[in-house]
């Protein structure tokens, strides 16, 4: 805060009282304005995290109960994971998370970068192409989910249409198949987000100093070498931002699964967020739901905290 007035009266004996009061007010104003949102965040984010953690150690069923009963909820989650041969819902959820997270982030990054590099070739009509690729991001996951649900449904969409045109051997029923349904979630998710990633990369590409490129070209670098050795390494910060945005979108994905698959055959498309919601609110097993939420939080922390740490360390240097 760079206000002239200082709040320490001992150091400013010469200042008249009115100015000091005004100064104090100016000094305190940001804090006063910030205080409500700070308190709201503190209670409704961190307060509830603590509350959820507490609930996960109780035997809460339909409504919260406050009698501590130890880590039984966690034991149930992990016992299911390690001992069940037909995968339990929790095991399905976390393996789905791994598949979805890896493919969604990976394909979005690769496809986004590829599209951005193509668009960066000073092609005609870029102004039209860019919003076309970016537009899916403007849709909510519910809309994306429902649209793709119809498109992928063997009785309504792609398969039916191609059969109609005479290609009757065509077969694509992933959305009804317990082993493949999670990949349809990847398809819809990638469709939605890769344009956004493209826009981020495009901005990054435009920010690269043209002189470096020219120098490299004069040195005889081919276009491929140029991108591989110079441009992509320079885009590192964009990669990181895109990764963080995509990773958190992957972890919080809930609506896409519900709208696209309604949970999939026998719950085979669940992600941990679906598991948490189902158990907490539909199955009246609030303790198990809370335990799964806490595990999700710990997983996210395991990714985000090292990242924040390295970022802060770099800034401090």
């Amino acid at each position: 805060m760079s206000t002239v007035a200082t709040t320490d009266p001992v150091l400013t004996p010469a200042q008249s009282t009115p100015i000091s009061l005004r100064g104090r007010l100016q000094d305190a104003l940001p804090k006063i304005v910030l205080a409500p949102s700070f308190v709201i965040t503190l209670v409704f984010v961190y307060g509830f995290i603590v509350w959820t953690a507490y609930l996960s150690f109780t035997n809460s069923k339909t409504f919260p109960s406050y009698a501590l009963t130890g880590a039984r909820a966690y034991q149930r989650l992990w016992r299911w994971t390690f001992e069940s041969d037909p995968p339990s819902s929790w095991y399905t959820s976390i393996t789905n998370m791994a598949i979805f997270g890896f493919l969604y982030v990976g394909i979005c990054l690769a496809l986004g970068l590829f599209l951005a590099i193509l668009l960066d070739q000073k092609i005609r009509g870029e102004g039209i192409l860019r919003p076309i690729f970016l537009y899916p991001m403007a849709l909510s996951f519910i809309v994306t989910g429902v649209a793709w649900k119809w498109f992928l449904d063997p009785g309504l969409g792609l398969e039916q249409t191609l059969h109609h045109f005479g290609w009757t051997s065509f077969h694509f029923d992933w959305i009804k198949n317990k082993d493949f349904v999670i990949y349809t979630v990847v398809i819809a998710g990638v469709w939605q987000a890769s344009g956004f990633v493209m826009a981020m990369f495009l901005a990054g590409l435009r920010g690269i100093d043209g002189e470096i490129m020219k120098a490299a070209q004069i040195d005889g670098a081919s276009a491929f070498q140029l991108y591989r050795r110079i441009v992509i390494p320079l885009l590192r910060p964009i990669f990181l931002s895109a990764f963080i945005v995509l990773a958190h979108m992957a972890i919080k994905s809930y609506d896409l699964v519900v709208a696209l698959t309604s949970g999939g055959p026998g719950g085979s498309a669940w992600l941990p967020s679906n598991f948490m919601y189902e158990y907490t609110f539909k199955r009246n097993e609030m303790a198990v739901g809370s335990a799964s939420a806490i595990i999700m939080l710990m997983t996210i922390s395991a990714i985000i905290v090292p990242y924040l740490y390295s970022e802060l360390k770099e800034k401090a240097r």
Binding site: T62, R76, S84, S89, K176, G266, G267, N284
Partner: protein, 419 residues
């Protein structure tokens, strides 16, 4: 503070736009329900009109979704936030759960005046009376062990009423040979489990059903009869079209109505859809008990749970309860809905053939002790257990659980965990 925090938490989680439903008015009934399909909405209109004659406005808090999951979530948020609706459609153990939490009102006075104890079957009173107090008004009795058959298709393939499970399979084979989808099923876990309720009753008989699915007797749950039931489920699933996963129940009913499919195994709310489509029993469609379950009724009942509303809303609540259990409404409503009255003293004159049969079956089952709560519908055991059961059945249907041995093992463990 804790209480405040918990209410706030759930209120925040539930972003559903229920805010509008809170304006308290003496002359208004706020009703949370999930009757949004054609037949259901028409049935509810009867009650709306009855109440408007008495000067009470009807305020819907509808939440779509056949099984009522979404509605129950919304209700939980409202209750936790302390803004009770006048009444809510509720199923079985949910009523008791809420009564235990102390949020239900007390209708004993009205019940005494209207003589509910005598006219409502004891099996229903188990859920509508808590601690000696009437907390809910039963609206109807559904039974789930029905077959709904398209008569035109039946005639085309030359089928007759199946009397045993094997005859049912033979009938389905005939339909398959004729190029019709034999069995219309919606691939949601409650639909699959509802069908399995009938299969278990057919395979093991009434005693077995009661022991396994009402008393949760572990020996019965892991018995060979239960394994056989899962094997029968595996057999019947082969007659479902490959595109069934995720389908709503009324879409499956529509397949039978249109003649795309021969039969649906579903509760009698399916009849409401036939009626709404202007179809007549015995001429357009047939209703049989699931083969091997004649004489028994696996029931669920829609109840209007009555909440502990402030005094200025009590009058509206009492009017709603009285109207709900009046003979005229019970008859008119259930004629449209497809179910049978929750009072045993309602004449069956206005009912069609299937309704008359349903009323007679209910009366016989009530007297003969073969009236069982449906586990799939939340009348056999508390929700956590019912959901664990639905999970296992659904995983078996969709192939995550591959053998009946494994299914039985999973069922026992899942129920044990949820206890």
């Amino acid at each position: 503070m804790r209480k405040f925090l918990s209410s706030a938490a759930i209120a925040v989680v539930m972003m559903a736009g229920l805010g509008g439903a809170q304006a308290a008015d003496v002359k208004e009934v706020q009703m949370l329900h999930w009757w949004t399909s054609g037949g259901e909405a028409a049935a509810l209109n009867v009650l709306k009109q009855d109440l408007s004659k008495e000067g009470f406005a009807w305020k819907d808090v509808p939440v779509a979704g056949g099984g009522g999951d979404a509605a129950m979530t919304a209700l939980k948020a409202m209750v936790a936030a302390g803004t009770y609706p006048t009444a809510s459609q509720m199923l079985g153990y949910t009523v008791l759960d809420y009564a235990q939490a102390g949020v239900m009102g007390d209708l004993t006075e009205t019940a005494k005046k209207e003589g509910w104890d005598k006219s409502v079957p004891a099996a229903l009173q188990k859920f509508s009376v808590y601690d000696g107090k009437w907390v809910a008004a039963p609206v109807n009795v559904h039974s789930v062990n029905w077959l709904w058959i398209n008569k035109a298709v039946m005639d085309k393939i030359g089928g007759t009423q199946p009397k045993s499970f094997d005859e049912l399979i033979a009938l389905l084979d005939k339909a398959k040979a004729a190029g019709v989808i034999p069995l219309a099923l919606g691939g949601q876990n409650w639909q699959e489990a509802t069908m399995f309720d009938s299969i278990v009753l057919s395979t093991g008989g009434p005693e077995f059903y009661k022991k396994a699915f009402n008393d949760l007797d572990e020996e019965s749950l892991k018995s060979d009869t239960m394994k056989k039931s899962f094997d029968n489920l595996a057999t019947i699933i082969k007659y479902v079209d490959p595109n069934f996963s995720g389908r709503d129940w009324n879409l499956a009913t529509a397949m039978v109505i249109k003649g795309d499919a021969l039969v649906q195994v579903m509760g009698d709310w399916a009849k409401g859809e036939f009626v709404a489509a202007k179809k007549k029993p015995d001429t357009d469609f047939l209703c049989y008990r699931f083969p091997g379950t004649e004489g028994s009724v696996v029931y669920n009942s829609d109840m209007f749970g009555m909440f502990n509303v402030p005094d200025d809303r009590k009058a509206a609540q009492v009017a709603l309860a009285t109207a709900t259990l009046s003979k005229s409404f019970q008859s008119a409503f259930n004629v449209v809905k497809g179910s049978v009255p929750a009072r045993t003293d309602v004449p069956d004159t206005d009912f069609d053939a299937c309704g008359k049969k349903g009323i007679a079956d209910l009366k016989a089952a009530n007297e003969g002790g073969t009236l069982f709560g449906s586990l799939a519908q939340g009348y056999g055991a508390p929700p956590a257990i019912a959901n664990a059961y639905k999970d296992v059945v659904s995983k078996f249907v969709h192939g995550q659980i591959k053998t009946s041995d494994e299914a039985v093992k999973q069922l026992v463990q899942a129920i044990d965990d949820a206890r």
